[in-house]
Amino acid sequence: MLLRVQLLRRRFTATLVVVGLIAFTGCATVPDRPQVIVTGDAVVDGNAQRAAAPAKDRALWDFRVAASALRAANPAEAKLRLDEALPLIGGILANDAEAKRARGLFSAETTKTFIGEPYERVMAYYYRGLLYWRDGQPDNARACYRSGQLIDSDAEAVDNKSDYVLLDYLDGFASAKLGGDGSDAFARAQANAKGKTLPPYDPAANVLIFADYGRGPRKYSGGEYGEQLKFFTKDSAAYSATLAVNGETVVLPAYDDLNFQATTRGGRVMDHILAGKAVFKRNTDVVGNVALVGAAIAADNAYGRRRRPDGTIETYGNRDAQAAAVALGAIGLLSKLASAATTPKADIRMWDNLPQRLSFAALRLGPGEYPATLEFQDAAGSTLPGLTQTLKIQVEPADRDTVIFLSELKP
């Protein structure tokens, strides 16, 4: 009898050892990320971060550096970074091993290659579009706006599908500039403009002002295990902007709001997968708790003591209770390990230097240099102190439009 008890004990110990070994399989060390020396220059630092980042995060850094480069009046760098990212975010990512792992129970969503949420991908196309226009290629700019609007067609609610005002407006404007008919795109833009009246197209306008202001949405994870992708949005102080140039004041109203766009997409397919992971994590945890408690109770009854006829006390083993203790212990341990290893947390990598509001205006100016003043207004229309920028607009005597990018945000 005593031998059997010892045998069961050994089996129980062996089970624990094997389970432990399995649990620690794959805990290989990850190579250290190269250290990045911060210089204070957003473009230089962003590129250094990009170089040090794993390949799956490259597009994220491409996005961030592109926005910084645009604000630092470095369009060549912005173009370079966006051209790196666009083939990835504009392609069809299928049969991707990292994506498959990201869907698995024991890998985080961040395992997958970052391509961003639709509002982030739309902004990559939006910025690339204005750079194409700057290079005298309004048809390629139009292609970017069309791709952007298509990306936004993923939204759940019909009203929120492809509802960027500026993407349609600029699509039509590019067509008008190329001698085509942009009226359909203009009508679509006007329908989404929420009461704002869009300026009619002026194909002779040669200076195109793209302005953005406010801080864009930020991601965070919610839910019991962080399995829900959520957005923190705060209305920025700047509701509108004006540009004083050549004796006239050009109004730059907010036509699009990225806070609105980020929060109106609706559910993702990946959300269902993460919800499934969370259910698994919760259930395995509960089962683990129950099984371990059961194992403890069974173990408590695994041995008994009884008095022999000669009056001495003997210890005897309750085989059923011992077997139950081993089985429940193994299940409990495995369940707890599985629960701990399950990673349902939503991917909250984000393009963190996006603006909140987007605006555009087109005007006619002859070649030359023009001093200009950019001001931002609050909801009541009062000028926000401390945000005013003075700048010079250089209108080239070229056969292409002069594209000016203005932002409230620093590089």
């Binding site: 392609g91 299928a94 997958k112 970017c144 993702r268 994590k281 089962v287 011992q322 089985a327």
Partner: protein, 209 residues
């Protein structure tokens, strides 16, 4: 003993059941469907993607063969002069527009054995500056610099890319029509026109949807 066996059997059944909890996501095609090229007249189950190198090669090969086959080129007594006009992109894909005409030109130059000549209008500013230097006597000239020798075009070759896109929960589909034409510079007649159409479709991995 029977009870022990039952408990172990129950445990063996329960453990996998526990581990499979939450694995049923209900997501269709979780791995996505890789992009597949289809015939333009073939009906796809979803929709497609953009302009790629194989499309460029296929389209420009076809266009170069087409240009060489028309009587205005094949039977011309004097090699016609052609000017390339930039392609117009009406698709949703930003592309390097020059690459189409560059490849058609290089294909024609390779295969026409001198039956066509292309005028290098991209070089006009440089050529004019050089001519002015010759006229002013700042550099030498092997011919009379005041005689206009820049040739005019007999034909203009240009093209247009147009697209149709469909996107739904089943994926994305893109149809692109590549059309090119050769226009007589004197009469404005279109002496040749040809088109190619390519349709592609794909569905990204569920992790990106």
């Amino acid at each position: 003993m029977k009870n022990s066996f039952r408990i172990l059997t129950l445990a063996a059944v329960a453990a996998p059941a526990v581990f499979l909890t939450g694995c049923a996501t209900g997501v269709q095609n979780p791995s996505g469907v890789p992009v597949t090229e289809m015939k333009a007249d073939e009906r796809g189950f979803v929709a497609g993607t953009g302009v790629e190198s194989q499309d460029l090669v296929a389209v420009t090969d076809k266009m170069a063969r087409g240009v060489l086959g028309i009587p205005e080129i094949a039977s011309a007594k004097v090699a016609p002069r052609i000017v390339l006009d930039p392609v117009v992109n009406e698709t949703r894909f930003p592309i390097n527009k020059d690459i189409f005409l560059t490849r058609i030109r290089s294909q024609l130059n390779e295969k026409s054995m001198g039956k066509v000549r292309f005028l290098d209008r991209e070089m006009m500013k440089t050529l004019e500056r050089e001519r002015d230097l010759k006229r002013s006597g700042q550099v030498t000239a092997s011919s009379e610099p005041n005689v206009v020798e820049f040739r005019g075009a007999d034909y203009f070759l240009t093209g247009k890319l147009q697209g149709l896109t469909t996107k739904n929960s089943q994926g994305t589909s893109d149809y692109i029509l590549y059309s090119f034409r050769l226009t007589d510079a004197r009469t404005s007649e279109i002496v040749w026109e040809s088109s190619s159409e390519i349709k592609k479709q794909g569905l990204e991995d569920a992790a990106y949807r």
